[in-house]
Amino acid sequence: MTCRELADFIADYLAGTLPADTRAQFERHMGVCSNCVTYLEGYRTTVELGRRAFDDPDAPVPETVPEELVKAILASRR
């Protein structure tokens, strides 16, 4: 398995959906290729950052819906 081939399997690898033989080849390559290890770590971090980029730890209580939008929605129903 080359780095290029391995790159195509990263998402399935992280999702745990690779067939056992492909997973074994993936991990064998990772054992000898530090560049792929670094890339995988970056990929994993990127997914985590993307997932949580919209979280706001300073505002655990979610904002309320703008009052003018509430009024507009209710008015348009009538």
């Binding site: 560049n35 950052l49 993307g50 997932r51 979610p62 929605i73 348009s76």
Partner: protein, 208 residues
Amino acid sequence: MMRYKPWRMALQVENDAALVQGLKGGEEWAFEALVRAFGARLLATARRLVGNEEDARDVVQSAYLSAFRAIGQFEGSAQLSTWLHRIVVNTALMRLRSRRRKPEESIEALLPAFQADGHYVEWFSSWDVPADRLLERKETRRAVRVAIEQLPETYRTVLVLRDIEELSTQEAAEVLDITPSAVKVRLHRARQALLTLLRPHFQRSATR
């Protein structure tokens, strides 16, 4: 860090069933409760998909009208929040399709390049700061949001639906009207492109 998912929060009124009954009976309080209970979270979803406040508010308004009209068909087995979330996603995607005017930029330049023998062209350097620490910084979260906004729309949409709105591959395929394998390919490329866009930020962060 606390996480919340807009459409999975418990409803702030007594329960879904009472609210649905009120909606089906055309009771004004129920419509207002539905807007107040979910509006902010649905607006956040719409913002993530359409990218600007004005369109996002239009999407939410239009989605609520669709929901009010379709409440008769709402089945008690589903969650109101999930049902509304799906309507907002569909409405936002329709909005994106209708405003798409020019051909989309290619994502190729943001994907990793390989040599003829299959090795990466670039040698990647390690990021010493874990995601948790990076995410404590407001500026990091902002940089990630800006980078997501820079992704070509087709890819950004899949990333938002799968990684942020947490639709399954199958659900994303249905709302986008593409195959599940196309969803998987686009999601992977979107993440790779995001990684390319974020790497300079991480490296700077890591040396601070």
